[in-house]
């Protein structure tokens, strides 16, 4: 039930110094992708630091723009400083630590049947009262031998019991109940195996810095690699290109990652032996950061984890989409998950 806090223990609170140090360690969003659309309240909701720390970061060079009485930040810069802060309490740190804690548990827990209630809440950073339409990608749980029930979209005010989406009021939601079950598979193709390990090693060594990126950058794997950054989407799209260039059948998937919190996630699948196999070096990286073994790394090279719920969603689109003033708009979303004790058959 509990285990001693060892090497994978969470980073301790490092105070303001940790935040300032993080500012100089992240790869800043390249100028051409900068978008100042995150206000101060939203930044604080993501970072979970004090306003004084945010002030010190601004003094130390955190890029921002002042419009009237509003101060705006680049969303990726905010998320990356928070993730690198070592505070232990920012949203991204908590997501990564708790979503991948299962990676150090018994391997049987990577694949056993699970059931979850999902809520994907969407918000519009441009207008807290925006009434323009929303779309949510439907689940494709059956692709992983799972099943979903009661998929519903509510396009309108959402009762989230006080929960916000990065400080914004939720304006729409997708809800569903889903059953997941994993499967142990192993990729045999040496080209795929080499590409997986190369990608993982690039991120472990920092040659490709794992961090958040703007949509346009993460959807362009060549540009992301030229920038020295990687995330689940850019890595999946890069590997898909490597595999298809070699004549293999491959596809990038979008979906949800289940746990005590939820998250969007992306991975690549390669067709081998008549079945799709999940190739996910980011999953391996984040598991290793929590102390997972090499057995878990191998698991990420073909197996289906019981924490993934695929969506029927093109690789270059998000699971939640929204228009604002008749044009596609950046959205904010948060995935809430409630693990269920009873597993529907």
């Amino acid at each position: 039930m509990t285990r001693p806090t060892g090497a994978p223990a969470p980073a301790g609170a490092r105070g303001a110094d940790g935040w300032l140090d993080a500012l100089h360690r992240i790869v800043p969003t390249p100028d051409r992708y900068l978008r100042f659309d995150t206000d101060r309240d939203s930044a604080l909701a993501v970072m979970r630091c004090s306003p004084e720390v945010l002030d010190r970061l601004m003094e130390a060079g955190l890029r921002h723009r002042t419009e009237g009485d509003r101060v705006l930040f680049d969303d990726s810069d905010i998320r990356n400083v928070a993730a690198a802060s070592g505070s232990g309490g920012s949203v991204l740190e908590l997501v990564q630590r708790y979503l991948f804690r299962f990676a150090v548990s018994d391997p049987s827990e990577w694949t056993d049947a699970r059931a979850w209630a999902i809520r994907n809440l969407g918000a519009c950073p441009d207008d807290p009262g925006c009434r323009e339409p929303w779309q949510f990608a439907p689940l494709a749980a059956g692709d992983f031998a799972g099943r979903s029930w009661d998929e519903r979209v509510t396009d309108g005010p959402v009762d989230a019991r006080g929960a916000t989406v990065d400080g914004h009021p939720p304006l729409a939601e997708f809800t569903a109940t889903v059953r997941t079950v994993g499967a142990v598979r192993r990729v045999r193709d040496p080209l795929v195996r080499d590409a997986f390990h190369t990608s993982l090693q690039e991120m472990r060594t920092g040659r490709m810095y794992y961090q958040a990126m703007p949509t346009e950058l993460r959807n362009d794997p060549e540009a992301a690699r030229a920038n020295g950054t990687a995330n689940c989407i850019s890595v999946s799209l890069h590997l898909e290109r490597v595999f298809t260039d070699a004549g293999l059948e491959a596809r990038t998937r979008k979906g949800y990652l289940m746990g005590i919190l939820g998250s969007d996630h992306s991975w690549v699948e390669v067709r081998e032996d008549g079945e799709w196999k999940v190739v996910d070096p980011v999953f391996a990286l984040l598991g290793l950061r929590q102390g997972a073994s090499e057995e878990f790394v191998e698991f990420c090279l073909g197996s289906v984890p019981n924490r993934l719920v695929p969506c029927d969603c093109p690789a270059d689109l998000e699971t939640v989409r929204h228009t604002h003033q008749q044009s596609p708009a950046p959205t904010r979303n948060v995935v809430l998950v409630n693990p269920l004790k009873e597993i529907p058959s």
Partner: protein, 107 residues
């Protein structure tokens, strides 16, 4: 020397009848720090999700702080079993949840 946490536990004898005072007191301290509540107002059988101001990220910040305090890391099944204040106290002590499902999450 009596800490403020111990004093609070003494003032609320209904809290943590099966757990050492330090675990119960630390849970109340963590709830108070994150949510701005008076520890004396939190009942042991209170559902954490219904406490004023609670949301999923705050709950994990509380759990994270408590894990650090007690030098443990709760596994998924323990985390999934936590619904009440007492559940959290039990989980930190390594005890099964009240319904006996800890360690059997999903069944």
């Amino acid at each position: 020397m009596t800490t403020s946490a111990e004093q609070r536990t003494e003032r609320n004898p209904n809290v943590g009848t099966t757990a050492p005072a330090d675990v119960t007191a630390s849970v109340l301290d963590a709830l108070a720090a994150e949510l701005g509540l008076e520890p004396d107002t939190v009942a042991p059988d209170a559902e954490l999700s219904t406490l004023p101001g609670m949301e999923s990220v705050k709950l994990l910040r509380i759990v994270s702080a408590l894990e650090e305090t007690h030098g443990v890391a709760l596994d998924d099944d323990a985390l999934f079993s936590i619904e009440t204040v007492d559940d959290l106290v039990r989980a930190l002590r390594g005890e099964p949840a009240a319904d006996g499902t800890a360690g059997e999450s999903g069944t």
